[in-house]
Amino acid sequence: MSKRLTVLGLAASILASSLMMAAPEAVAQESVYVPLFTYRTGPFAGSGIPIADGMHDYLQMLNERDGGIGGVKIALDECETGYDTKKGLECYDAVKPKNPVMVNPWSTGISLSLIPKASVDKIPVLSMAYGLSASARGDIFPWVFNPPATYWDGLAMIIRYLGTESGGLDKLKGKKIGYLYFDGGFGKEPIPLFEQMAKDMGFELKLYPVPPGEMQNQSSQWLSVRRDRPDFMVMYGWGAMNPTAVKEAVKINYPMDKFVSIWWPGENDVNGTEGAKGFKMLNWHGIGTDYPALKDIQKLVVDKGLSKSPKEKVGELLYNRGVYNAVLIAEGIAQAQKITGKKVVDGSDVRRGLENITLDEARFKAIGLPAFAGNLQLTCKDHNGHRSAFIQQWDGAKWVKITDFIEPMPEKVKPALDEAAREYGEKNAGWPKRSEACDKS
């Protein structure tokens, strides 16, 4: 405890602060800085890698093909979070001084921690189809976006599908539905709505939580499934939880066509599991490389060695999910440029841009992704869109779309959403009232 420590401490702090000061200058003036929070390590890497590649490659392709967006290059930067909230916050603090136009946390846990910061730091949070469902309410969460559907919409669509499978929603009465979920914020969120539906429709709900540390060991949950014999299984999983669940379901001979998941499994999760054929999941966008934009990615990014993705993985389900996310990023920036007339936009501009995203058939065609996904229109009130999705089934080698777009149940979801948003504002004393003006579109 002498000078030596002090000197060391001093040196370390000076070094550290000078390092951190130097960082922002690295970003060139004429660019829009888009940090991508990704995870290529840890138990969620299996899902995280294709998503990261999809996001990165689409934006890189825009840089290569169009010179960025509206003539401004996109400064891409990846920060590894490992799906860990602590590291996510570190990444956020590291990118904050470089004036990012938005952050994509790619973890419900990180989103939950960033939501309160968004309005203060003026950095929009784009949590595509994850995060806090209540943040769909643009009037309460002006800085948070979670298009194209919330987890509650997803649940409503799954239940509606199970209804049609059984011959009508009223036929669900007396049925037993099992819910296998990631025992964290993401999996727990739909439970109140699920319970409400069970009461309204008269089905029995069985809960099978999978603790985050036990994702790869689900034998006890599936033992209970075998005992309870639910008529349907619904799954909300991510990372290593998905392939494990599929394997366990096969092991206990659970009928795979009664097993429906939310939109997060990918090919890797079912591929290689004998008997996974018949597994179903929600999805809202196209798969494959049969789109001009994806052809451009192959030509301009992957073939040139600018991507980390293996060639054959381009166009896979989660890769294209990443592409969809990148499309939202690009559209948000493009809209912001259109509204403000500026070329180099900042976080506040992009917030307005995201609020005015209009992705219709014509627009999808124009960006080289014809019929890639359903229309999406965000407004200043609605930051989600509550868009419909379809069910696809694994045929042993690829996903096959087996239904049309299924509408969610706004009459059930909306009251729950309003209640959750109101509660959030109430519990977070001092939650700011929306002060940002709405754009007339």
């Binding site: 550290a16 603090d93 939950l112 910061k117 309005s119 469902s133």
Partner: protein, 359 residues
């Protein structure tokens, strides 16, 4: 040459028994405090404050807690993460039930709830020792973590299951919530850590600390000397959990600013803090700080420092490299000095006293 106590005469017993008997040490501490309280908040970048200093301080507090139990009393615990969680949830419940009371009061008070739980799970320590006690505290870890997810009352029935940190002020300045400035959060945390370290240091230098160490060195001998084992061990659990609880509350309220808490206080967290204590040095206050710095600062520095220095590293590579480097360094330090960084520090100081004429 510079670090020598020659000419510093002690004229009374109080001076002789001081925690820092040497003038240079006292000056050093004053300098460290000055740097921490003045220089860093004034000149440090936001990143330094938010991602380096605040985590370091939170982990220091938790390590001090575990060091009191494991280092000073010789009781191994694998439940530190859970005890931190108790503090975080207690603070959340308290501040939502009584929002008018100052948040800093609640952060400290939540330590007492953690103490209570710690004492409860410390009860078996009278009968079981060593690895078996570690397993018993592991039960605390799993049970408490189960409570954090399964008892919705703890997180106020939030659908997301997350702790939501509202806006709270101290002297009219926001210290929690999204609007709280980093400097405010840092200063509150630093003050807490400084005061609690001072308390812990005095506790360990006094009768209580001596009875802890007596129990650690040989509990039968301690009992023969008139130390009540039950009381002493439970007190160690109480004090240790108190520190862990305050650290947990500070982590959620001053660092994370809310979020999914149950996963933040998992078994990995317990292990991490145990590693900090082992690498820092068992039974040493400064070791707790060294350990926390080593385990919490180093990965951040490597991940963000190397690219900033011009060594280009993509996110995932940096992550892998961090794992390799930190792992290698842990092994290196444990081989060079099994008694931790604190012992290295002590040796360094001893050498410095002889320098430049060692005999």
């Amino acid at each position: 040459m510079f670090y020598r106590e020659t000419g510093q005469f002690k004229t009374n017993y109080a001076d002789d028994m001081a925690v820092f008997p040497i003038l240079q040490d006292r000056l050093g501490i004053a300098l460290i405090l000055a740097v921490a309280f003045v220089l860093i908040p004034l000149t440090g970048s936001n990143f330094l404050l938010s991602s380096v200093m605040i985590p370091f301080l939170v982990f220091s507090l938790a390590s001090i807690g575990l060091n009191i139990l494991t280092g000073y009393t010789g009781l191994i615990s694998l439940g530190t993460g859970a005890f931190m969680g108790v503090g975080a949830y207690a603070c959340y419940k308290l501040t939502t039930l009584f929002p008018e009371v100052n948040i800093v009061v609640w952060i400290v008070a939540s330590g007492f709830f953690s103490s209570l739980v710690g004492v409860l799970f410390g009860l078996p320590s009278l009968r079981i020792k060593g690895f078996y006690l570690a397993v018993a505290t592991l039960a605390a870890q799993f049970f408490l973590q189960w409570c954090f997810t399964r008892i919705p009352w703890l997180y106020n029935y939030n659908t997301s299951g997350a702790i939501e940190v509202g806006q709270r002020t101290l002297f009219g300045i926001d210290v929690t919530g999204p609007k709280a400035s980093l400097e405010a959060r840092y200063m509150v945390l630093l003050t807490l850590v400084t005061v609690l370290t001072w308390v812990a240091s005095n506790l360990m230098h006094g009768r209580i600390g001596r009875s802890f160490m007596a129990v650690r060195d040989m509990d039968i001998a301690a009992e023969l000397m008139g130390i009540d084992l039950l009381k002493t061990k439970l007190l160690a659990f109480a004090v240790s959990s108190f520190y862990a609880g305050v650290a947990g509350a500070a982590m959620m309220f001053l660092w994370y600013g809310g979020g999914e808490a149950n996963d933040a206080f998992n078994i990995n967290q317990s292990f991490l803090i145990l590693f900090m204590v082992i690498i820092g040095g068992l039974g040493s206050m400064i070791g707790s700080f060294f350990g926390a710095a080593f385990i919490s600062m180093l990965p951040t520095m490597l991940k963000f420092g190397l690219p900033a220095l011009g060594i280009p590293l993509a996110g995932a590579t940096a992550e892998h490299l961090t794992y390799i480097l930190v792992g290698a360094l842990i092994i290196f330090f444990l081989i060079v000095e099994p008694h931790g960084l604190a012992r290295l520090w002590q040796i360094g100081k001893q050498k410095l006293r002889m320098w430049p004429f060692p005999y």
